[in-house]
């Protein structure tokens, strides 16, 4: 593996986006210069690009374990794939007016569903328990011939918690309901073999697995009824019109090939780094806890709630030391509301605002992890010294009564 560019920073925000692998950049470069042809053209310029796209499609197919390479539809991003999947299911089955999803989906699903509610669709949002888990019985009770599509994420972007999508897809299939999964966080981190599942549609995003931004895939099981989002050309067999983003498609193909090669690293070295980071922080910092389901989550993600302090302040102090992470606090999002995922799990506000997500990749090194384990405790201590919920030695007794600000 090529070592990443030598930067002083420690990048632990790989669920937000990843570094483009140097091999991926190298594979892409010819497609900006001599391989500039339009894959649709009859001449050699176009033909060579067409072959490269075909190869990339097979590389994606291999990573997903899809039965056919024609089941791979290239899109511009995960969000487009999500919208295409849900809107297609509604258009293709106009008599079905219901959608089943979960409260902890990415906004690419949630904002679309909320919008569809204003157009008369009924959306069922499955709740989660304190560890971010679904109640499958409740899900089964909602399945009916009124439901156009189920859309459930494979892995949660904030906590890393995995949903039993394969089991849920089987249940949907037996009820005659289409099943889509937003798998942008799972692809490349977990082995996936779609041909052995009942999943009808799956979204993936290139930039989450060391390919560039601006490229995504919708996996569309053969013979799934489909209505395109973009019409206009015959590209992607008419399922997604628009001239192919050939350089990025080639890059995504290469990234998928590399993800296959390194799949074992995820559950060995990446997981070992994540576990060491988490144990180190939990041992050194009082009043913090892991959110989500630690026994069933992505191997690269650790989301730790630091009580009585606020996440943006943590990130700013980490950033000063060159450490990049992210937070579920209101202030980091610009939305002025804490993470919907943390709220759905019933995490109290005093902890939800202090949730900090560390998401690793195979490009991290154990030395970096040790530096982060050293950096975090003094940062938390510094902010707690400022906090109205903290005394010299620990949280004030009965924090909710000790500090109850007006308009809380």
């Amino acid at each position: 593996m090529t070592t990443p560019p030598d930067t002083q920073g420690i990048y632990l925000d790989n669920n937000a986006t990843t570094m483009v692998a140097p091999e991926v950049v190298e594979a892409m470069l010819p497609f900006f210069t001599e391989q500039f042809g339009n894959a649709s053209s009859i001449h050699a310029y176009g033909n060579r690009v067409g072959h490269a796209i075909k190869q990339a499609r097979q590389q994606v197919q291999a990573l997903l374990g899809a039965a056919q390479d024609s089941e791979i539809v290239f899109t511009s991003c995960g969000t487009e794939s999500d919208s295409t999947a849900i809107l297609s299911a509604l258009k293709a089955q106009p008599e079905r007016k219901e959608i089943i999803t979960t409260v902890v989906e990415h906004p690419a699903i949630l904002a679309l569903c909320q919008h569809l509610e204003t157009e008369g669709y009924k959306v069922h949002y499955l709740p989660v328990d304190g560890k971010g888990r679904l109640d499958i019985q409740q899900y089964m009770d909602l399945l009916s011939d009124r439901v156009a599509i189920v859309s459930v994420m494979w892995a949660n972007n904030e906590s890393g918690t995995l949903f039993p999508v394969q089991e849920m897809a089987e249940l949907a299939k037996s009820a005659g309901v289409l099943f889509h999964t937003d798998a942008v966080q799972a692809v490349g981190k977990l082995p996936i073999d779609l041909k052995d599942t009942a999943i009808d549609m799956l979204s993936l995003s290139g930039h989450k697995l060391h390919a560039p931004k601006g490229i995504g895939v919708l996996y569309l099981r053969r013979n799934t009824r489909f209505r395109p989002l973009l019409r206009g050309g015959h590209q992607e067999r008419g399922r997604r019109a628009g001239t192919e983003n050939s350089a990025s498609i080639v890059g995504l193909g290469k990234a998928c090939e590399m993800a296959m090669e390194h799949m074992d690293d995820e559950k060995t070295t990446v997981r070992a780094m994540r576990d060491r980071l988490e144990r180190g922080i939990l041992a050194a910092v009082p009043n913090c806890f892991v959110t989500g389901d630690p026994t069933n989550r992505l191997p690269n993600t650790s989301n730790i709630a630091f009580e009585y302090i606020e996440g943006e302040a943590i990130l700013l102090l980490l950033n000063k030391l060159g450490i990049a992470a992210s937070s579920g606090s209101a202030c980091t999002s610009g939305s002025l509301e804490p993470s919907h995922v943390m709220r759905a799990m019933g995490i109290p506000f005093t902890a939800a605002h202090g949730t900090t997500r560390f998401s690793l990749s195979r490009y991290n090194r154990m030395e970096e992890i040790d530096r982060v384990i050293e950096a975090v405790p003094p940062i938390v201590a510094k902010l707690r010294k400022l906090s109205p919920y903290w005394s010299d030695t620990g949280p004030v007794s009965d924090p909710a009564a000790a500090f109850a600000p007006a308009y809380a």
């Binding site: 302090i309 302040a313 605002h353 906090s387």
Partner: protein, 294 residues
């Protein structure tokens, strides 16, 4: 990442007066835990002179909340309580060389903590006037409750009017869909339908649609500006009316307003005041903009 000024960063990394004042005789607790910002301000006030001898803060919040708390304590130390009550959230933001628009509420929280602490010292009850609505316009931090109330009380029917009255939707326009949804709902309650192509009524003024004569209009603009001047003069600035050209009102900012980076915010404030007084939309521009276009 937010675009924080050097001063904000400096006060965040090295906060002044952190922690509770040991022998405090005034405490103000404000903030919203759901929003993730809350502040306890403690003061030591001299009972004879009412001078703030010491101030300390404890803040649960983001970088700009901590910096605003730090700035507040620096500003008010040594002031009398009456002087301190004159401190505005804009003073706190100015002290920090400005805050990002979405973070202005951090400075508001600072001012409110101060009011609450002084009320606490004087044995009064402090009440906040917070709207508890979902944020619709992120550019100008306008929430759904304010928009809805403004639509109702002024009989608004278009997105343009809502922007003129509340500023919501006057920035990036991403919230126009949300504003339309509120308009549709409120109008439906009144048995009316929202028409997206309707023109804003010429004068949705308190005058009941009567168009002002030219002279009367100029006098009103003059009166609005006169009313604002004392506020600016307090900060050693001033404003004078230069010309009115249709919907454009040209002014000169003088004194401390010259070169102040909050000058454009001040212009917005003047504009809002004139729009409210006049009941029609005008644009307040610096006089140099007039020379450019001439």
């Amino acid at each position: 990442m937010w675009d924080y000024s050097e001063k904000v960063q400096e006060h965040f990394f090295n906060p002044r007066n952190a922690g509770a004042v040991a022998d405090a005789n005034a405490t103000g607790d404000v903030g919203s835990l759901s929003c993730g910002d809350a502040l306890r301000l403690t003061l030591k006030v001299d009972p004879q002179s009412e001078v703030i001898l010491d101030a300390g803060f404890q803040t649960f919040g983001c970088g700009s909340a901590i910096a605003s708390s730090s700035a507040l304590t620096e500003i008010i130390k040594g002031m009398t309580l009456n002087e301190a009550l004159e401190v505005t959230n804009q003073d706190i933001a100015d002290y920090l060389d400005g805050l990002p628009a979405e973070k202005m509420h951090c400075s508001v929280m600072g001012r409110e903590a101060l009011q609450a602490a002084i009320a606490n010292y004087r044995g009064e009850e402090w009440k906040d006037d917070h709207e508890e609505g979902a944020l619709v316009c992120k550019c100008f931090a306008v929430d759904a409750v304010l928009i809805e109330n403004t639509i109702r009380s002024n009989g608004l029917s278009t997105v343009e009017e809502v922007a003129n009255y509340t500023k919501a939707g006057g920035g990036c326009s991403a919230c126009h869909e949300g504003v339309e949804a509120i308009l549709s709902r409120v109008l439906a309650e009144q048995g009316k339908a929202f028409d997206p192509y309707a023109k804003a009524p010429e004068a949705a003024s308190p005058e009941g649609g009567r168009k002002l004569g030219n002279l009367e209009r100029i006098r009103r603009i003059e009166r609005s500006i006169e009313a604002i001047r004392p506020n600016l003069q307090r900060d050693h600035g001033d404003v004078e009316l230069i010309d009115i050209d249709g919907k454009n009102v040209y002014v000169n900012m003088t004194g401390a307003c010259v070169g102040c980076q909050m000058a454009s915010t001040t212009l917005d404030g003047i504009q809002q005041r004139i729009v409210e007084d006049l009941g029609e939309f005008v644009r307040v521009l610096p006089a140099k903009a007039m020379r450019k276009s001439a």
